[in-house]
């Protein structure tokens, strides 16, 4: 998904794979808000070209200066990165909240023998 295909609403399931091009139509602040709401890893790209891959768990647009906070994909951190350093954020990780509907679990449960079906966790715990 390119920047032109930016989702109209921050539905997490549509964000996976999004590679936004920051500009007037897709402001950085909006992308950061969506990354904060996203339950998967992202790749944060700095203006100097360096990247941080990991989970973005906080953002504060009202702080002076505004910042995001991340744990990297090894779980190290938290790292604080200023908005001013960020060129873009790509939604590269799997959305852990997507595709695990209750209905899907009920369907799978109904298709299997009772004992086996009942012992299947809703989403793979």
């Amino acid at each position: 998904m390119s920047g032109e295909d930016a989702p109209a609403s921050p539905r997490a399931s549509r964000l996976e794979g999004w590679d936004p091009v920051i500009g007037d139509e897709v402001p950085l602040e909006d992308v950061i808000d969506r990354a904060f709401d996203y339950r998967g890893d992202v790749t944060l790209v700095r203006h100097d070209g360096s990247e941080v891959v990991g989970y973005l768990f906080n953002r504060n647009a009202e702080a002076r200066p505004p910042f995001v906070r991340m744990f990297d994909c090894a779980g190290d951190g938290p790292f604080t990165i200023r908005y001013a350093e960020i060129r873009t954020i790509r939604f590269t990780g799997k959305d852990t909240a997507a595709g695990k509907s209750y209905e899907a679990w009920l369907r799978r449960k109904a298709e299997r023998p009772p004992a086996e079906a009942a012992s299947e966790p809703a989403h793979g715990a």
């Binding site: 890893d41 990991g54 989970y55 906080n58 679990w105 966790p121 809703a122």
Partner: protein, 340 residues
């Protein structure tokens, strides 16, 4: 009601001290989440959808105790994730008990018997296992999306009671709950010998898989009225009777979002246990910089309109008890008569 007198006194004296000091934003229960990892994946839970490196992380005991000191609340609830999967749960609980904090260890109890046999915990008036039980066997196993969990929990409860531990249950109610079957469940829990039960309607976490089955306000009141209109004397509830009256539509309360602040690997969660709108690095920062006026039903915030969950409204009920003669009178009357 089943809260022990010493605990009631600890909470009452704490609330009165806060009121004398003129503190408006004081916490009642710290929600301490040492980890998000869980051995279940319940359809109504929005707490565990994270990438693997986040699920592998946990707080240190030192971080937990620092949060407890910062917050100062007399009670600490340890949810999660599943706290019995936290490798330092024994030392953490021991330290909290040494700090004379009333600890509610909220567990699905799958690992309870095993941990008790390992000698991880010692009985104390400060420690209560708050076992997640969403109803009778069928309803509970359905809510946690796995068969056999109800029986495991009952086995854990029996073992804990046998060893002299305080045990309570916590029950989240979803749409479709049957008042009559819930009453049967209350009887069963009392037969088991638990000290008391805690009830709350569910909250529709944006990240929870099951978005269809959360109760809306009117339905909540209807369900709780039917369940609790004529409560049996033997049913013991380990929570404020005014909160139960609120759930029945007999009290009109506003949310106290700072009442049960939440601390986890990300920091102090804004604004409450249920909404994740950011994190503060210190408790002071949480209290001083969160725009509390943007939350609660009166604020008009859509996310708060149907919420009647204990973490926002039980602190209001407790404040009401100690903040007005009517509140105190209603609480005493419900406690003495058992009527709600």
């Amino acid at each position: 009601m089943s809260v022990p007198v010493s605990q009631m006194w600890a909470v009452a004296s704490y609330v009165i001290r806060q009121r004398i000091k003129g503190r408006k934003h004081y916490p009642l229960v710290l929600m301490l989440e040492p980890l998000f990892r869980c051995n279940l994946a319940c359809a109504g839970c929005g707490k565990i959808q994270y990438p693997p490196q986040i699920l592998r992380k946990h707080l240190t005991v030192e971080q937990c105790l620092k949060a407890v000191d910062e917050c100062g609340a007399p009670m600490v609830s340890i949810p999660g994730g599943e706290p019995l999967m936290y490798p330092e749960i024994g030392p953490l609980v021991e330290a909290l008990v040494a700090h004379r904090k009333y600890v509610y260890l909220c567990t699905n109890a799958i690992l309870l018997k095993e941990r008790l046999e390992e000698g991880v915990f010692r009985p104390s008036k400060y420690l209560s296992f708050s076992v997640h039980m969403d109803g009778l066997r069928e309803e509970h196993d359905d809510a946690v999306c796995r068969a056999g969990v109800y029986d495991q929990a009952v086995e854990g409860i029996r073992e804990a009671l046998k060893r002299g531990f305080r045990v309570t249950t916590n029950t989240t109610l979803f749409d479709g709950a049957s008042p009559m079957r819930m009453q049967m469940f209350f009887d069963d829990m009392m037969d088991l010998g638990v000290e008391g039960m805690m009830l709350s309607p569910g909250y529709s976490y944006a990240k929870a898989p099951d978005q269809e089955h959360f109760l809306r306000r009117q339905k909540t009141q209807e369900l709780f009225r039917k369940m609790l209109e004529n409560p049996k004397r033997r049913w013991k509830f380990n929570q404020s009777p005014l909160f139960l009256q609120f759930l029945m539509g007999k009290q009109d309360f506003e949310c106290t979002p700072w009442g049960n602040p939440t601390y986890n690997i990300f920091g102090w969660q804004r604004p409450c246990y249920l909404l994740q709108e950011g994190y503060a690095e210190t408790f002071k920062e949480l209290i001083e910089t969160t725009r509390w006026e943007q939350y609660g039903r009166a604020s008009g915030n859509d996310k708060c309109q149907d919420c009647m969950v204990h973490c926002g409204y039980e602190p209001t009920a407790v404040n009401h008890t100690f903040g007005s003669l009517r509140g105190f009178r209603d609480t005493v009357a419900a406690t003495l008569t058992g009527k709600l």
